[in-house]
C-alpha cells in the first residue's frame, strides 16, 4: 500500500503508534541510559513527553491538520521531560510551524519539517554532543531528504528512515566513548528509533522482524556509577517560564554558568528549561526574572540513581524543605530525606520568596518546612501562607532540632502524623553552639575576651575558653543530664576533623555511658554546633 500524504487523522494515528512503541520499550531505554548522566530515566522521560503530545491531540477534534499538529507540538513542549524529551518536542513543534491552512503533509513537507526540527533541536541544547539522539535525528533527516528526490511513497520512506536511524543508533558508541565503555547504544537515539518503528509497525500493519539492536549481555553495570565530577550538578531541574517577551539568548546566558546539560525550548511566551545544576534555588531565582515560573521539578540525580537500583517506588504524603547553612549540614539533610535544602545564606536570612520557590519546587502538594533557626521561622511562616500548597512549618529553632525532626519523618505516614512526630522529636533535643567572640565583653556575668571561644545554649553563655575544643567540651558537660543518651557534635568549616575527633574521645571518657557522635556540619559561623538528647 502506498501512502502519498498525511492527513490530520493519519498524523494523530502515527504519532500515537510511535509514542506507544516508545512506551512499551521504556524500561529498556531506562536501563541503558548512561549519558549525560546515568539517571535511568530516558525511557520514562521520552514516553511521558510523547504521552503529553498524544493527550493534547486527543483533546482536539480532527477539524484540520493544523489543529492536530499544533496540539501535538504544544503537548510535547509543555510535557517535555529530560534532554531527549525536549529534543523530541522540537521535532514535533517543527511540524507545527508550517502548517497554517494545510490539510495534508506530503513527503516534501515532511522533509522540510524534519530539517527544521533538526536545527531547532541543536539550538535547544546548549552544548550539543554527537553520538546522541541529535546525531540520530540529523542523520535520519538527511537520509529522508535524499530519498525524497526519488520516492514519494511515505510507506517506503518510513522504511528508509527506520533503516538509517537504525544504523545511526548502532554507530552512537563510536562517537561517544561513555556509551562504548558501558557497552550500550545511546538511549535517546534508540528512543527516537522506537518512535519511528512504532510508526512503521502501524503503516505496515505488521510487526517487523528486526533483530535486537541492543545486546544486554555486553552491558557494563559499572558505567552506572555517577562520576564524582558530576556530583556538583546533581539536581536535574526542569520548569516552565511564561512571560510576555522571553529572550532565549538572554535566558541561556543567564543560566549557562549555573550548570550543564542545559536545554531551553519554547517561544517568546513560554519556555521549558532543563538544566543539571548544583543550585536549583539560584536557577529558579534567575529564571523568575524572565517571567512566571511553574511546573517545577527538581530531581536529585544521586538519589534518583540509588532509588533506581533499589527499585523503590514508594510515594510520599509530604515533601520536606529544610533550610541550612554549611555543606556538611546540607548533605546530612539530603541524606536523611529532605527533598530540598535551601541555603540559609551567611546571615541566615533567606527571603520569603526564596522559601516560596523552594516549596513550589517540591513534588508533593503537602510540604513540611524546617526553618532550623529562630530568625528564619517568620519568613517560613509567611512563605507558607503565600503558596497554594499545603505547608506546615515545624518550629525547629536549631539545626540539630531540624535533623532530629527529619529523622522522625516516615514516608508511609500522612503529613499530619509526620508533623506530630517531628514536633514530638524536637522536644527531646537540647542544642548549643561554640563561636569565637568578636570583641571583649562581659556577657551574662561571664568575662569574654576577643578571640576566645564561648559556649552558648538556651541563649546563655555557659563557658569561655581559649580553644574551641575546650569550649565545646565544657559546653557539653554543662548541657547534659542523666536522661540524655546521645551527644552530637557538628564541626564547622574552620575546624579540622582530627580536632573534632580528639574532643569527642575526651568527651567519651568523661561521659562514659553516653553515645558521642561527630559529624561534619561545615557551618561558617560556629566552630561547633552541639546537641544532647
Amino acid at each position: 500500500m502506498s501512502i502519498l500524504y498525511i492527513s490530520a487523522r493519519r498524523f494523530k494515528a502515527i504519532v500515537k503508534a510511535g509514542a506507544d512503541w516508545v512506551f512499551q520499550n521504556r524500561e529498556l531505554l531506562n536501563r541503558i541510559n548512561v549519558f549525560p548522566v546515568p539517571d535511568g530515566d530516558t525511557g520514562s522521560n521520552m514516553s511521558m513527553t510523547l504521552a503529553s503530545a498524544v493527550r493534547e491531540m486527543e483533546a482536539v477534534r480532527e477539524v484540520s491538520l493544523e489543529t492536530v499538529v499544533k496540539a501535538a507540538a504544544w503537548g510535547a513542549l509543555m510535557g517535555a521531560r529530560g534532554n531527549s524529551g525536549i529534543i523530541m518536542a522540537q521535532i514535533l513543534s517543527a511540524f507545527g510551524e508550517d502548517v497554517e491552512g494545510r490539510q495534508r503533509f506530503c513527503a516534501l513537507d515532511i522533509a522540510d519539517a524534519l530539517s527544521r526540527g533538526v536545527r531547532k533541536a541543536y539550538r535547544a541544547v546548549l552544548r550539543p554532543a554527537e553520538g546522541t539522539i541529535l546525531t540520530v535525528i540529523r542523520e535520519t533527516a538527511e537520509a529522508f531528504e535524499q530519498s525524497v528526490d526519488t520516492i514519494g511513497d511515505l510507506s517506503l520512506l518510513t522504511d528508509a528512515m527506520v533503516k538509517s536511524a537504525r544504523s545511526s543508533v548502532e554507530r552512537t558508541p563510536l562517537l561517544l566513548p561513555k556509551l562504548q565503555e558501558a557497552g550500550v547504544v545511546d538511549a535517546g537515539g534508540l528512543g527516537f528509533l522506537f518512535f519511528l518503528e512504532g510508526m512503521q509497525r502501524l503503516i505496515q500493519g505488521t510487526i517487523t522482524a528486526n533483530g535486537p539492536i541492543h545486546d544486554e549481555t555486553g552491558f557494563n553495570e559499572n558505567a552506572l556509577e555517577i562520576p564524582a565530577e558530576q556530583v556538583t550538578f546533581r539536581y536535574c531541574t526542569e520548569f516552565i517560564i511564561k512571560g510576555a517577551q522571553i529572550s532565549e539568548e538572554a535566558l541561556k546566558n543567564s543560566l549557562a554558568a549555573m550548570g550543564d546539560s542545559i536545554v531551553i525550548v519554547g517561544d517568546t511566551r513560554a519556555a521549558r528549561i532543563h538544566i543539571h545544576t548544583g543550585q536549583p534555588e539560584e536557577v529558579l531565582r534567575r529564571a523568575a526574572d524572565f517571567g512566571t515560573v511553574s511546573s517545577i521539578k527538581v530531581d536529585d540525580m544521586l538519589v534518583q540513581h540509588t532509588r533506581r537500583l533499589v527499585a523503590e517506588s514508594s510515594s510520599k504524603a509530604a515533601s520536606v524543605v529544610a533550610i541550612a547553612l554549611g555543606d556538611g549540614f546540607k548533605e546530612l539533610f539530603y541524606n536523611t530525606g529532605a527533598e530540598l535544602v535551601l541555603d540559609g545564606g551567611p546571615t541566615q536570612n533567606p527571603s520569603t520568596s526564596d522559601i516560596i520557590a523552594a516549596i513550589e519546587m517540591t513534588i508533593s502538594d503537602s510540604v513540611i518546612v524546617l526553618p532550623n533557626h529562630k530568625n528564619i521561622y517568620p519568613a517560613a511562616v509567611q512563605a507558607a501562607e503565600r503558596t497554594p500548597k499545603r505547608v506546615t512549618v515545624v518550629k525547629t529553632a536549631t539545626v540539630p532540632e531540624g535533623i532530629s525532626a527529619l529523622l522522625a519523618f516516615v514516608d508511609e505516614a500522612t503529613c499530619e502524623e509526620n508533623v506530630d512526630r517531628m514536633e514530638a522529636a524536637i522536644t527531646n533535643v537540647r542544642s548549643g553552639e561554640v563561636t569565637e567572640a568578636s570583641r571583649d565583653a562581659t556577657l551574662g556575668g561571664v568575662k569574654v575576651r576577643r578571640g576566645e571561644f564561648i559556649g552558648i545554649s538556651d541563649g546563655k553563655i555557659r563557658c569561655s575558653r581559649l580553644s574551641a575544643e575546650d569550649a565545646v567540651a565544657d559546653l557539653v558537660e554543662a548541657m547534659v543530664d542523666p536522661s540524655h543518651e546521645i551527644v552530637t557534635l557538628y564541626y564547622g568549616d574552620s575546624i579540622a576533623k582530627e580536632d573534632a575527633g580528639a574532643v569527642s574521645s575526651r568527651l567519651q571518657e568523661r561521659l562514659g555511658d553516653k553515645g558521642i557522635e561527630v559529624y561534619y556540619g561545615g557551618q561558617p559561623y560556629a566552630s561547633y554546633i552541639v546537641s544532647v538528647e
Binding site: 540509588t306 533499589v310 523503590e312 514508594s314 548533605e331 546530612l332 541524606n335 536523611t336 535533623i403 532530629s404 529523622l407 522522625a408 516516615v410 508511609e412 527531646n428 543518651e485 546521645i486 553515645g515 557522635e517 559529624y519 538528647e533
Partner: protein, 279 residues
C-alpha cells in the same frame, strides 16, 4: 493432627516436646563448619561464635527429602499434617516442604507460608496449638494459620544492617543503607518481606516506639497477643517486656531467643516484637 515447622520458628525444645511439634532444621555455615540449626547449636553458642568470627555466616534450606522423612510416619498413619514455615520470600524452606508434600498424594498435608520468621512464626504456631487445645478441627486450624500469616505484624531492629545486606535479605530496607547518621533502623516484615519503617537515633526511643506500636493496636479496642525475641540483647528485652506487660488488652505469648539461622541474617543485637489481633 501433627504440626511440622522448621527451625526458624525459634521455639524452645520444651515447647516443641510439649506440643509434639517437629522443627525440621535449616543448616548454618560459618567458615568451614556447618551445624543443623537448633539441634547442633544453641543460640548462645552461635552468638559467641559469631562475635569471634570474621566470616559471614550462611544458611541453607532443608531438602525436600528432610521433609519427606518428617512427614512419613504421620502420612502413613493417616494423621493430618500442618506444615508451616518461614516466609517464602526469605527462604526456600516452604518450597522444599511443598515438594515433599507431592510425595504423599493420598495424605492430608497442608503447607502454609507463614510470611513471618522467628518470633512471628513461633507465635503463630503457639496460637494454633492453643486452638487445637480448644478442640478445633484440622480445617479450622489450617484456616486460622493462613489468617494469622496474613495479619501478623512483626517489627524489628538490628544493630547493624551489614548482616541483612550480606545475606541478601535486606529487601526494601536497603533504603536505610548509606545513611550518614548513626541510626537504629526500625523495620517490619510485611507480606513476607523486609521493609524500612523508621530511622531512630537512640535505644530509648526505639523501645518507646515498640511500646507505642503495641499500645496503638491495643487501643483500638482489640485484644492483642504479642511475643518478643532478641539475639544477644536480653537486658533490653527485660525492660521492654516490663513496659509491654502494663498495656491493657495485650497478652504476651512467649519470649524467644533468635536462633542461629535468623541470627545469621539479622546479626547479634536484634530485637523484635510481633503482634496479632485476637479473634
Amino acid at each position: 493432627m501433627k504440626i511440622v515447622t522448621d527451625s526458624t520458628a525459634d521455639l524452645t525444645s520444651e515447647l516443641y516436646k510439649q506440643h509434639d511439634i517437629t522443627p525440621v532444621p535449616l543448616t548454618i555455615h560459618l567458615g568451614e563448619k556447618s551445624w543443623r540449626d537448633f539441634y547442633d547449636i544453641s543460640p548462645d553458642e552461635f552468638y559467641a561464635l559469631l562475635s569471634k568470627s570474621n566470616e559471614v555466616p550462611g544458611t541453607s534450606q532443608p531438602s525436600p527429602q528432610d521433609f519427606v522423612e518428617a512427614f512419613t510416619p504421620y502420612a502413613e498413619s493417616g494423621e493430618p499434617i500442618l506444615s508451616i514455615h518461614i516466609s517464602s520470600r526469605l527462604s526456600g524452606t516452604y518450597q522444599s516442604a511443598n515438594l515433599a508434600r507431592n510425595h504423599f498424594p493420598e495424605a492430608r498435608i497442608e503447607v502454609v507460608d507463614s510470611r513471618q520468621a522467628s518470633l512471628g512464626l513461633g507465635q503463630i504456631i503457639l496460637l494454633l496449638v492453643e486452638k487445637i487445645g480448644r478442640g478445633a478441627r484440622f480445617e479450622e486450624v489450617v484456616e486460622t494459620a493462613r489468617h494469622l500469616a496474613d495479619t501478623a505484624e512483626t517489627y524489628f531492629s538490628v544493630d547493624s544492617l551489614h548482616y541483612l545486606q550480606r545475606g541478601g535479605r535486606i529487601g526494601k530496607a536497603q533504603a536505610f543503607l548509606g545513611t550518614l547518621m548513626k541510626i537504629k533502623p526500625l523495620m517490619r516484615l510485611v507480606e513476607g518481606e523486609i521493609q524500612p519503617v523508621e530511622k531512630i537515633r537512640t535505644t530509648e526511643r526505639l523501645l518507646n516506639r515498640f511500646v507505642e506500636l503495641v499500645e496503638r493496636q491495643a487501643a483500638e479496642g482489640h485484644s492483642i497477643k504479642y511475643s518478643l525475641a532478641e539475639s544477644d540483647n536480653g537486658l533490653l528485652v527485660d525492660g521492654l517486656l516490663e513496659r509491654l506487660q502494663r498495656i491493657k488488652n495485650a497478652t504476651m505469648v512467649y519470649r524467644a531467643r533468635i536462633g542461629g539461622v535468623v541470627a545469621s541474617h539479622a546479626g547479634p543485637g536484634t530485637l523484635g516484637v510481633t503482634f496479632v489481633r485476637d479473634r
